[in-house]
Amino acid sequence: MQYTLLILALPLLNFIVLGLVDSKWKPKVAGTIGTLVLTIVAALSYYATYEYFSFHKVNGVFEKLMPFNMEWLRFTDYLHINLGILLDPISVMMLVVVSTVSLMVHIYSLGYMKGERGFERYYAFLSLFTFSMLGLVLATNIFQMYIFWELVGVSSYLLIGFYYTKPSAVAAAKKAFIVTRFADLGFLIGILLLSYFTKTFDFEALTSGNASVFAGFTGVSFMGISVLSWAMALIFIGGAGKSAMFPLHIWLPDAMEGPTPVSALIHAATMVVAGVYLVARLFPIYDLYTPGVLHGIAYVGAFTSLFAAIIAVVQTDIKRVLAFSTISQIGFMMVALGVSKMGGEQGLGYMASMFHLFTHAMFKALLFLGAGSVIHAVHSNEMNHMGGLRKYMPITNITFLIACLAIAGIPPFSGFFSKDEILTAAFQFSPYFGALMTFTAGLTAFYMFRLYYSIFWGKEHKHQHTPHESPLVMALPLVFLALVTVFAGFIPFGELVSSDRVPFHSELDLTVASISVIVALFSITLATIFYRKESKIPSLLATKFSGLHKAASSRFYVDEVYLFITKKVIFNNVSRPIAWFDRHIIDGTMNGFASTTQWGSLKIKGVQSGQVQQYAYVFLLGTLVIAALVLFV
C-alpha cells in the first residue's frame, strides 16, 4: 500500500505551492487547487480503507502494516525518530475522518470565505493542517506523533489567528498555543521517561504486549508511584491539553475566534480528538501496566463532560455552545477509553470511544458548518440575534436538526448508537458512572435543543436584510454530512475497530438504550417547552438559581484563575523580578567592577604628576622605609 505516502505528500506539496505563490494567483485558483488536491487525498484514503478492511485480515486479526518507514534523526543506537506510515484499524478510521471532514471544509470554505483577504493563505494553512493531522494519525512511533502534534498545534495557531488584525483572535491564538504547549511539555517529559526505560519510541514495540520492553521500569518509583505511571500520566497531560480536558480546556472556547469552517475541522472533528487517539494508541500500556492512570482518565473525562455540559446550557454565543459541547463529548470518549479493558467484549469501551469519535466528527462538523451558514446569513454569533430562521434557511434547518437529534442520542441517528455503547461500557464499569454519564447525555439533549430552537424557532429577530439560504457549495457539505449522520450508526463498528484488532459483534443493550432514549426525549421536551416559543420559564429559573447561573455563564471562573496565575504570579512575581535582578544586581556587579577600577585609577593617577620635587620626595621616603626595614627587621 505504498500509495498511502501520497496521502501525506499531496497536502504538504499543496501547502508549499500555495504558501510560496501567496497572493500572486487569483483566489479562486488557489481554492480550486486546494480542493482538488484534497479530493484526491480523500479518494486515496477511501480506497486505502476499502483495501485495508477487505484484504488485510489474517487469521481473523487485522494486520499492522508499515508501508513506509525511514530514519529521520538518530539519537543513539536504539533511539531514533522515524517518519513513516502505520496502518491499523484506528489509523485507517482516522484517515477517513480527517480526509472527509477536511474535504467538506475545503468545499464549504469556497463559499464561506469568498472575498476574504488572505484567501490563498487560508487554503495554504488548511493544507498544512491536513498534512500535519494525517501525519499524526499515521505515526509509527511516539516521537513522530509528537512532531506532528506540534505541527497541528501551530496550524491551529495560524488558523485561529487568521483574522490577525482582530486583537481577540490574536489573543485566542496565543492562548491556544501556550496552553497546549504547556500540556505538550508533559507529553515530552513523558516520552523522555518512557524512552529512557524502554529504549524505544516505536509503537509496535511499546504496544505489542512484550513485557521485556518494560523490564527497565521494575522497582523504579517516584513519590510512591511507579515511574511508568508517571510517564503515562504525563503523556496523558499532553493528550488532555489537545483534547481540552479540564483544567486545560480554557483555550478551546476562545479558539472559536477562528473562521467557522476551521472550528469545524480543527476544533470539533479532528485535532481536538488527538488526545483520545493518543490514549487509544497507547491503550495496551495503560491497560496492562498502569490501570490506575487509565481510571484517572475516566474520572477526568467524566468530570469534564459534566462540567462542560453545564456551562453549555447557559452560553449565548452559538459557537461557544458548540465548543463546550465538543469538550463534553470528548469527555465521553475519554470515559469510554478509561472504563475499557483489552480484548473482545471487554474492550467494548475502546470500540465505543472510536465509534463515537467517528460519528461525533461527522455530526459536530455538520453542526459547526450549519452554525457557519447561520452566521453567514445573520452576521452574528449571538443567539438572541437569531430566531425563526427555519423559514429562510430550510436546508440548514433540516441538517442542523438531524445533527441535534444525533448528538441527543435519538435513534436511528448515528450518535444514538455510539453513545449507547459508551453508556453500556460505563454501566458495566460502575452503575454510578453509567448514571452520571446518562445525566450528562440528558443535559446534552437539553442544551442542543435550546440552541436549535433559539436559532430556528422562537421569536423572530429584526434583521437588517432578509436572511437567505447559503449558496450551493456551502449547502452541499451540509447535506453530505447529514446523510453520513443518518446512516453511520449502522456501520458494524465492532467488526472493524476493536482493542485487540480481532473483530467482534456488539449487541445493542436494550435496557441502557431505552433509558437513554427516555432521558433524551424528556430533555428535548423540556427544551421544547422552554424555547420553542417565547417563555418566561428560563429567565425565572435563571433568577432562582442566579448564583449557579452566573458561575456557569462565567465558565466557573477558570479563566480568571489562569489569568491570576499567569499575569499576577508568573509575569509580575517571577519574570519581572528576574529582569530587574539581571539589570540591577548582576549587571550592577559587573558595572561595579568597572567603576571600582575607574575610581582606583583616578586615585592612583595623582601619583603620576610630572613634578620632579614630588618624585624626589617619594623617592627619598621610599629609600628611608627600605633602609629602616633592612636595619630593624
Binding site: P167, L192, Y196, F571, I578, D582
Partner: protein
C-alpha cells in the same frame, strides 16, 4: 599551502580589495564576491569532507597541515577540520554572506565598516580551522578587537557604553583563557600546543582542577554563561545589524566550540568532576534567560536574552558528556546561529523603517510589511522549536541525549531545562502578537516599504538554511555525531 588557509586568506584579500575600492558600488562588489567565494568554499569543503569520510578516512582531523611559526616557543600554525568545525565553517559562511547583504546600505564609512567586518570574519574562520591552542587564541583576539570599533562607530543608542562593556567583559574572559591555555600547555608536558598532541598527554588532576574552570569560564563568557552574560543585551542592543548577526550568530559559538574543543577535550577528568557546578549555572541560564526575555520590550533585548537561554542550552548539553547531547549542542549552535542572525537581520530591517525597537510603539506590521512579517514569524517558530525548522532538531537531540545520563541529578536538570520550551513560546508569541498582528499602531507605519532585493536575499538564505536543517537533519547530525564519538570515547575511557 593548505586549502583551509583560504578561509583566512579570502577575508584578507577582501580587505585588500576594499582598501583599493573607490566607490560604494566597488565596495559592495568586493564584499559580495568575497562572501560568495567563502560560501562556495565551505560548500566544497563539506563535500570533500564527506567524500573523504565516506571513503573510510578515520583520522580525527582531516586536511591537516602544520607550519612552524616561531620555533623557540614551539609556536605552530596548525589547521585541520572535523565534522564539528565543518559545520561551524558552514554556519560562518552563511552568516557572513547574509551579513554583507544586510549591511548593503551601511552608513557612514562603508569602506571602513567592511574592512573591519572582513577582519572579524577572518578571525572567526581562523579560530574554527586551527587545531593549535596558540593559533586559536590569536584568531580569537583578532575576532574580538574589530567588534569594539564596529559597535562604537556604527552602533546606535548607548554605543560607546555597549562597545566598551562588551569588549572589556570578553577581554576579561580571554584573560582567564590565556592563563588556562598556558597552564594546559605547561602542565601537559607536550612539545607543542597542538590540541591533538596535548590530548595524548595526561594533565595531572591537580592542574586540571585549576585550569578546567578557567578555560571553561573563559569560553563561557563568550557563550553567555550565567552570570557573565550581561554584555550580551547591552552589546547587541547597540551593535549595528550585521555585527549583531555575526556576533550572536557566530562569535558566541566560539564559546561553545572552544569549551568543547579545549576545556572538555583536554581536561576530561576535571570536566567529569566539576560538571555538576557548571550544569547548574547553565541550567540557570536556560530558564533565567527565557524568563528575563518575557519581560523585555526592546526587540534586541528580547533576542539577546533569548540567546542567553539558547546558548545556555549549548553549554548545558556539552557538559552532559555524552555523544547525543554533544551532537545536540553543535546542532543547537548551528540552529541558534542561523535563527538569531535571522532575528537580528529582521530587527535591523524593521528598525530601519520604524526607527524604534520598542514593541510598545509598534503593532500590526504584518499588514504593512508582509515579507518581513512572515519571516519574523518563521524565525519565531524556529526559536520556539517547531518541527521542520532547525530549533526542534537541536533541542530534541539535546533533551533526549541529556536524559540518557545515568545520574538522576542530570535527568532532573534536563526536565528543568525542557520547561524553557514553554517560556520561549510565551515570549515569542507575545512579540509576534504585539509587533505584527492587531491594528497598525502608528499612523506613520501605514506606508512603509517592504523588503528590498538585498534584504530579501539575506533573509531567504537564512530561512533556507533553517528549513534545510530542520527538515533533513540526518546528514548533518550524522556528520557531527561521527566526529564527536572518538572525542568522547577518549573521555569515557
Amino acid at each position: 599551502m593548505n586549502f583551509l588557509s583560504l578561509f583566512v586568506l579570502i577575508p584578507a584579500l577582501m580587505m585588500a580589495g576594499l582598501f583599493l575600492s573607490k566607490s560604494r558600488n566597488q565596495i559592495r562588489t568586493v564584499a559580495a564576491i568575497g562572501a560568495s567565494l567563502l560560501m562556495i568554499l565551505s560548500g566544497i569543503l563539506t563535500y570533500l569532507y564527506l567524500t573523504q569520510r565516506a571513503a573510510g578516512n578515520l583520522a580525527e582531523m582531516l586536511f591537516t597541515s602544520d607550519t612552524v611559526w616561531y620555533a623557540p616557543f614551539n609556536i605552530h600554525y596548525t589547521v585541520g577540520v572535523d565534522g564539528v568545525s565543518v559545520s561551524m565553517l558552514l554556519l560562518t559562511s552563511v552568516i557572513v554572506f547574509t551579513g554583507v547583504f544586510a549591511s548593503w546600505k551601511i552608513d557612514p564609512l562603508p569602506k571602513e565598516f567592511f574592512l573591519w567586518y572582513s577582519l572579524l570574519s577572518s578571525g572567526v574562520y581562523g579560530f574554527f580551522i586551527s587545531t593549535d591552542l596558540f593559533t586559536m587564541f590569536m584568531f580569537y583576539e583578532i575576532a574580538l578587537i574589530p567588534m569594539y570599533l564596529l559597535i562604537g562607530v556604527w552602533g546606535s543608542g548607548r554605543k560607546e557604553y555597549g562597545a566598551m562593556k562588551l569588549t572589556l567583559m570578553l577581554m576579561g574572559g580571554s584573560a582567564l583563557l590565556l592563563v588556562g591555555i598556558l597552564g594546559i600547555y605547561y602542565s601537559s608536558g607536550a612539545t607543542s600546543m597542538n590540541i591533538l598532541e596535548i590530548s595524548k598527554h595526561h594533565i595531572p588532576m591537580a592542574f586540571q582542577r585549576y585550569f578546567f574552570p578557567l578555560t571553561f569560564m573563559g569560553f563561557g563568557v563568550l557563550g553567555a554563561l550565567f552570570p557573565f552574560h550581561t554584555w550580551s543585551p547591552d552589546g547587541h542592543a547597540s551593535a549595528p545589524t550585521a555585527v549583531s548577526m555575526l556576533h550572536a550568530g557566530v562569535l558566541m559559538k566560539l564559546g561553545g566550540y572552544g569549551a568543547y574543543r579545549v576545556a572538555i577535550y583536554l581536561m576530561p577528568q576535571a570536566a567529569h568532576e566539576m560538571a555538576w557546578f557548571f550544569l547548574i549555572l547553565t541550567g540557570i541560564s536556560v530558564v533565567y534567560g527565557a524568563f528575563a526575555a518575557v519581560h523585555q520590550t526592546d526587540l534586541k533585548y528580547i533576542n539577546a536574552y533569548s540567546s542567553v537561554s539558547h546558548c545556555g542550552l549549548v553549554l548545558f548539553a556539552i557538559l552532559m558528556l555524552n555523544t547525543t547531547a554533544m551532537t545536540g549542542a553543535v546542532l543547537q549552535m548551528l540552529s541558534h546561529g542561523l535563527m538569531t542572525a535571522l532575528f537580528f537581520a529582521l530587527i535591523g530591517m524593521i528598525y530601519g523603517r520604524t526607527h524604534t525597537r520598542l514593541i510598545t510603539e509598534m503593532g500590526g506590521l504584518m499588514k504593512v510589511l508582509p515579507f518581513l512579517g512572515v519571516s519574523y514569524v518563521i524565525a519565531g517558530l524556529a526559536s520556539l522549536g517547531l518541527p521542520g525548522l532547525s530549533g526542534f532538531v537541536a533541542e530534541m537531540t539535546i533533551f533526549v541525549g541529556s536524559f540518557q545520563h545515568v545520574d538522576t541529578f542530570h535527568r532532573i536538570l534536563t526536565i528543568v531545562a525542557t520547561s524553557s520550551i514553554v517560556i520561549t513560546a510565551v515570549y515569542i508569541l507575545r512579540v509576534v502578537g504585539k509587533l505584527l498582528f492587531g491594528a497598525v499602531q502608528d499612523a506613520h507605519h501605514q506606508h512603509l516599504e517592504d523588503a528590498t532585493w538585498y534584504e530579501r536575499l539575506s533573509v531567504v538564505t537564512l530561512i533556507i538554511a533553517i528549513v534545510a536543517i530542520g527538515s533533513a537533519p540526518f546528514w548533518i547530525s550524522n556528520m557531527i555525531h561521527d566526529s564527536v564519538v572518538p572525542v568522547l570515547s577518549q573521555i569515557i575511557k
